[in-house]
């Protein structure tokens, strides 16, 4: 997994790329969580994520819940077909913010 972060006003966009599994979830959290803790609105761009497993889904849930707790928001952008399928399998399409 690789990533790139861009900033525009109070919105931080994290562009994730590659496959997100148990082996890279700590790295993903290290990128995303400090942005949420800084009360940024976070956009996670998932266009280039070809694979995500339950560990990756856990990062999405944890990010979403942490943002709610701190009064900010995480939005999933340009979700790839394969990631959307896993989100739907987990029945999270009504829980997470999908755009």
């Amino acid at each position: 997994m690789t990533y790139k972060v861009t900033e525009e006003g109070n919105i931080s966009t994290v562009h994730l790329d590659g496959e997100i599994d148990m082996d890279v979830t700590e790295k993903a959290k290290e990128v995303i969580m400090p942005l949420i803790e800084a009360k940024k609105e976070v956009h996670l761009n998932l266009k280039e994520v070809q694979y995500m497993d339950s560990s990756g889904i856990s990062v999405l849930i944890e990010s979403h819940q942490k943002a709610n707790e701190l009064g900010t928001k995480v939005t999933l952008k340009e979700i790839s077909k394969s990631v959307l399928k896993v989100i739907m399998m987990a029945k999270l399409e009504q829980i997470l913010n999908l755009d």
């Binding site: 148990m22 082996d23 889904i57 856990s58 029945k91 829980i95």
Partner: protein, 142 residues
């Protein structure tokens, strides 16, 4: 259903480590490529296999860091029934403790087993024959 599926039997072993999961996926994709399965089905099966392998790393080898142990994965197709076997030498799995979280109790974790059950027709834990401790069998008619 693909009526032209040929029988196949493949196996490979992997070091029990989270860094092996990408190799598990590659192996699975290669096998399913040979079977010429539809892309959506291939993706689902690869996810189920990777989740089961992840469970071995996370649970059977919980608190056991840097092991040199290997797990073996077998994929076979006979008469359009796919059977995927997982063998490991970790802590014996108590089948009663294998359950996914309630799906409407949204929190991180506990989804891997749910995905496996959603994708596969049957999930059976067996006692492994020596040298194995655990033997998990996933099956699906395709």
């Amino acid at each position: 259903m693909n009526l032209a599926l040929s029988n196949i039997s493949e196996k490979k072993d992997f070091i029990v480590n989270s860094s092996s999961l990408k190799d598990v996926r590659s192996f699975s994709r290669e096998v399913f490529e040979k079977l010429q399965l539809e892309q959506d089905l291939k993706d689902e099966l690869v996810l189920a296999i990777a989740e089961a392998a992840q469970n071995i790393v996370k649970h059977a080898y919980k608190d056991i860091a840097d092991t040199s142990d290997k797990m073996e994965i077998t994929i076979s197709l006979k008469n359009n029934e796919l059977e995927i076997g997982f063998f490991d030498k970790g802590r014996a799995v108590d089948q009663n403790n294998v359950r996914h979280r309630k799906i409407d109790d949204v929190k991180p974790g506990g989804l891997g087993t749910f995905f496996i059950q959603q994708i596969m027709d049957a999930v059976v834990f067996k006692e492994g024959e020596k040298p194995w401790i655990n033997h998990l069998v996933l099956t699906k008619k395709i």
